[in-house]
């Protein structure tokens, strides 16, 4: 199963390192990354594969949200289908 992970917040060093390390520990595979700075705000979107992951999507979503709070970023993990459904005709 694939999910979209988004990280939004004030830009600083080490965000990608922190997030990707966190995912590696949980055997979540990163398929694609895009990152931009939008009006001083860091916005990163990752497409990740959970098929080998040690956690379920809902647990991962909660853990990432918690981890995000610790580093002052807002992190969401959502099933990719929600974006397909909402933005493709």
């Amino acid at each position: 199963m694939r999910a979209v992970l988004t990280v939004v917040g004030k830009d600083k060093t080490g965000i990608i390192a922190k997030v990707s390390g966190f995912l590696a520990e949980r055997k979540v595979n990163i398929l694609d990354i895009s990152q931009t700075i939008l009006q001083d705000y860091f916005a990163m979107i990752m497409l990740v594969d959970l098929s080998g992951a040690s956690e379920s999507l809902s647990t991962l979503a909660e853990e990432c949200s918690e981890m995000g709070k610790k580093i002052g970023m807002s992190i969401h993990v959502q099933h990719e289908e929600i974006f397909n459904a909402m933005h493709n005709v």
Partner: protein, 451 residues
């Protein structure tokens, strides 16, 4: 890979604009539960609901986390209870209590369908059942009731309208300690729909299958923000923007509905895209109308704005899902919408204007508190007016008024939570008693005769 803006747009909709799945409602047919006695039936009804809806809370929590969209309410709707209670209508309250217990056991916030469909005529058992509504609502917490008194096909059953005026009054009196709260759980319909997921008017129609998942999506805040983004657009562009937004919201609802149905071993029924406000700021239908260019909702132009909004929402919804149903449009409950509350307090929104608005929106006079001394005949007359609008315009209309005991114009009644607070609105003082006393049937309009 996904477009960054699209991904962030979805997240913003949830985080800042109150996009949510307002309700996942499981419709359950209780026909197989009718047994020889009321006691036996009550037990079977309880068991059936507990079995079918056992996992509804867990499944919706999982879905909410996985898709990152809040699911606010979990609900159950059932076969109109007047049918289940028919052989022992005088003991309907027993079934009502069992339904309430079942709702609490499975953890849903409301259970709808303590209902009767009497739009053409009223059998003795239905009359008996309807008379049980006030007491049942006063003795239960999560049960919702509705009565359909008219339809475009059959006309308006004015005997039922007369009876419902009295039932609404009695319900208010029996729940006087909570400001007439029972009336917030009682809807009188014309053209009631069988697959509505929203409360208090949800029931599981007899034309539906065994177990169905219907989902209600909301997002007045999302629409408001979309309009804010194009402040100088003309109305065609505005309609287009609303349509696009409605499309996205409905798609999210459809995804959740399909997945919920799969996990709960039920059929996917419909998605109901209704802009359903909550008392929270930023989650208001009135705010959308004001964003369109009205100084206050209720002023001249309100009906036109609402007509455009309702239609654009429906068009976006229909494009997004082939299973659009329920009420799908814009709701205008007064107590549940901060913009409506404020407009009513200012005096810019009155019942007469709300009545006009109901001719073009998806429901009717909803969550309106009126003085406690409003007569049963006046409430019946309000119901008759609404039913007439529904009947002639081939649309659903509803009345959910609260004649708040002991309250008068200038007072307020507070229900808390999603039901909000309602300023007492004035009603006309002149009597309609003679009209209501006549009874009989207002015949169906000529344009309903399509066969």
């Amino acid at each position: 890979m996904f477009n960054t803006n699209e991904v962030l747009e979805t997240i913003n909709m949830v985080e800042k604009e109150h996009l949510d799945i307002r309700t996942v409602t499981m419709g359950i047919s209780l026909m197989p539960c009718i047994a020889g006695t009321a006691e036996e039936t009550a037990q079977k009804v309880y068991d059936e609901i507990c079995k079918r809806a056992e996992n509804i809370v867990k499944v919706t929590q999982d879905l909410s986390r996985e898709y990152g969209i809040p699911i606010v309410n979990k609900r159950v709707s059932i076969t109109p209870a007047s049918l289940i209670c028919a052989p022992f209508a005088s003991k309907s309250i027993l079934i009502g209590k069992a339904l309430d217990r079942a709702a609490k056991q499975v953890g849903v916030d409301f259970l709808g369908g303590y209902s009767a469909l009497v739009h053409k005529g009223m059998a003795d058992y239905e009359r008996e059942f309807i008379k049980s509504i006030p007491e049942t609502l006063s003795m239960t917490d999560r049960l919702c009731s509705s009565v359909n008194v008219g339809s475009s096909k059959s006309g308006i059953n004015m005997d039922a309208v007369a009876l419902m005026g009295k039932i609404v009054k009695e319900t208010a009196e029996k729940t006087a300690d909570k400001g007439g709260y029972g009336c917030a759980k009682l809807v009188v319909f014309c053209n009631a729909v069988e697959d509505n997921p929203f409360m208090a008017g949800a029931f599981h129609g007899v034309g539906e299958s065994g177990t169905v998942i219907n989902v209600g999506v909301s997002g007045p805040g999302v629409v408001q923000h979309a309009i804010e983004a194009i402040p100088d657009a003309d109305l065609s562009d505005l309609a287009e923007m609303i349509k696009r937004t409605a499309f996205k919201i409905t798609r999210a609802g459809q995804l959740i509905a399909r997945e919920a149905a799969k996990r709960l071993n039920a059929e996917f029924g419909i998605v109901d895209l209704s802009l359903a406000p909550t008392p929270a700021r930023g989650d208001s239908v009135a705010a959308i109308l004001e964003e369109m260019g009205l100084e206050s909702v209720g002023t001249h132009g309100t009906t036109a704005c609402l007509a455009m909004l309702n239609d654009a929402v429906k068009k976006g919804g229909v494009m997004a899902s082939s299973r659009v149903g329920g009420l799908s449009g814009a709701f205008i409950p007064v107590s549940e919408d901060i913009g409506m509350i404020e407009a009513a307090e200012r005096g810019s929104l009155c019942i007469d204007k709300l009545e006009a608005m109901t001719a073009v929106c998806s429901v009717g006079l909803d969550m309106i508190a009126v003085p406690g001394d409003t007569s049963a005949a006046t409430i019946s007359a309000i119901i008759a007016d609404e039913a007439a609008i529904g009947m002639i315009n081939n649309k659903t209309t509803a009345v959910r008024v609260i004649p708040a005991p002991g309250k008068k114009v200038g007072d307020e009644v507070n229900f808390g939570g999603l039901l909000g607070r309602a300023p007492i609105m004035p009603v006309h003082g002149e009597s309609a008693e003679k009209f209501i006393k006549r009874g009989g049937l207002i015949p169906a309009p000529i344009h309903s005769n399509k066969n």
